[in-house]
């Protein structure tokens, strides 16, 4: 299918503005994506018509809100190919999802001397919760090394695997470099030694096919705001038997079956993990975001964004002073780079002057940058509403900046 980018752009009100006197070019999609009108309308409609607390109310509004809330859960189930919607837990985001697994699965099933494997490519949110767990219970954190191109070294990973490995927590696509990891192979190898696998889908869920049954991952986490949905909302998928065996995360309303001062019994999944009033409007507005993605098709989105990446590389590869960072064979639409003799902050500020929004710095992956011997990079990350014309303006601006110090 051919992407009609003008049709798509017209659905995103925010894109149609000038920044610093230039048409906005939004290339910071790995940080967060913009929201289509259908998502904005859903939030508005919820507060104007349906606002009510869910699950307990005995009135019509509560019923309507609950129904829409649960419809989103079902949409997510279908979106990731899970068996049942009870395996879909709403969280505040990817970070909370990983912390939830560390605090509940980790503290119950990972003991002193057990090992957790992550990779050099991880975002801090897939490092720190495991370090906290290891400090608490004496487990050991192991790290899969990478090549200079930013790809995992599969043989090294396999050497790290042993019966001591209890969990492999791995990013599907790197936020800093764009590398797509061979998660299916990683999952199969981990399962062979009896380890469970958490897939951090923060960067992959909106660009790649993520089918939890096909992958056979034990946990999957991602954030709605990177899938054209609202902020403050994330998804944790877990296999039923694991979620049932795990203790609750937060205690409070909604997650209980019965409370007495002597003992509390817990609700069934997914509600066991959803204490307190959730982000109801955000959940409800996430459904149209998923529908938006599905209507275009993820393989079309990935192909389109990959073409933008290819075009960027083509326009910039021969420019003196440009140093691409992360040149893996399989990548999502992320172009990370540096300019010789320039700090990424300065490059970002100069691009901003032209209305071009990129991310600069360490991208919450300090250990990765340290491994690559860098302080930071400039990162352009694409979404389905970006255009080849925008890539041309970006490449021109970057070329001009590169010439400052590389004559």
């Amino acid at each position: 299918m051919q992407i009609d980018v003008n049709f798509i752009r017209n659905q995103f009100p925010l894109l149609h503005q000038e920044v610093n006197g230039n048409p906005l070019i939004y290339f910071d999609n790995a940080a967060t994506t913009q929201k289509p009108k259908v998502v904005l309308d859903a939030i508005q409609r919820y507060y104007e018509i349906d606002n009510s607390n869910i699950h307990r109310g005995a009135h019509t509004l509560a019923d309507r809100a609950t129904q829409q809330y649960e419809e989103t859960r079902e949409s997510i189930r279908a979106f990731i190919g899970a068996r049942e919607s009870a395996e879909i837990i709403f969280t505040r985001g990817t970070t909370e999802g990983i912390n939830l697994v560390a605090k509940t699965f980790g503290s119950t099933f990972i003991q002193k001397g057990d090992e957790i494997i992550i990779s050099t490519l991880e975002h801090h949110s897939n490092i720190v919760p495991w370090q906290m767990l290891c400090e608490q219970n004496g487990a050991v954190l192991r790290v899969i090394p990478i090549t200079d191109a930013g790809e995992l070294i599969q043989e090294e990973f396999e050497k790290l695997l042993s019966p001591k490995t209890k969990l492999v927590s791995i990013v599907h696509a790197s936020n800093a470099l764009g590398t797509i990891n061979p998660v299916k192979r990683i999952i199969d190898a981990a399962h062979a030694v009896g380890a469970k696998v958490l897939v951090d889908g923060a960067q992959s869920a909106s660009h790649l096919e993520v089918d939890v049954l096909n992958l056979d991952c034990d946990f999957l986490v991602f954030s709605a705001h990177k899938l054209y949905g609202p902020t403050g909302l994330g998804v944790l998928y877990g296999k039923r038997e694991l979620l049932e065996a795990m203790p609750p995360f937060l205690g409070g309303g909604e997650m209980i079956r019965e409370v007495t001062f002597e003992k509390t019994t817990y609700n069934t999944i997914p509600f066991k993990f959803e204490a307190g009033t959730p982000s109801i409007a955000e959940v409800i507005a996430f459904k149209p975001a998923l529908d938006f993605i599905t209507s275009i098709g993820k393989s079309n989105i990935h192909r389109y964004e990959h073409d933008l990446l290819k075009y960027t590389v083509e326009l910039l590869q021969d420019v003196k002073g440009i140093i691409p960072v992360g040149t893996a064979a399989e990548k999502i639409g992320v172009f990370s780079f540096n300019i010789q003799s320039m700090h990424p902050f300065d490059v970002g500020q100069l691009l901003d002057a032209k209305g071009i929004a990129v991310r600069t710095g360490h991208h919450c992956t300090q250990p990765l940058l340290k491994r690559l011997g860098l302080e930071g990079t400039v990162r352009a990350s694409f979404a389905v509403y970006n255009t080849r014309a925008e890539v041309e303006v970006f490449a021109q601006a970057v070329t001009k900046i590169a010439k400052l110090k590389n004559k």
């Binding site: 320039m342 700090h343 902050f345 300065d346 500020q349 901003d352």
Partner: protein, 143 residues
Amino acid sequence: MSTITDIQDEIVAEFEILGDDRESTIFYIMELGGNLKPYPEDFRKDEYIIKGCQSTVWLLAEEKEGKVHYLADSNTDITKGLISLLIRVLNQRSPKEILEADLNFIPRIGMGNILGSQRSNGLVAMMNQMKRYALAFQTKQKA
């Protein structure tokens, strides 16, 4: 020697020539960084880094014949340019002059608008650190 007020007026006039062109303004600030004297490598240590800046800024001050001399460096060109402006205004003045200085050129050239809030907070942190050095020298002079 021109007063602090004179130099600030000069800077404001220079930036006025650049007008609203944000890109040219940033290029100009980056060029100004070239005016900084070389920073001594022996003092490129954590204790000379100014806290509160997103970029790394090293600042060193010494007192000679009652005047404060500043040396500074940064890992980013824009920040180097900014600190060169502060040094241009405050260098080789008495601690009293530095402490009493009303550094109005920063809002007058619309720095917050050009650089965004994070970088202008960094600029304030640099200015405060320069004043802190001056205060330390003043206290020493009085003692």
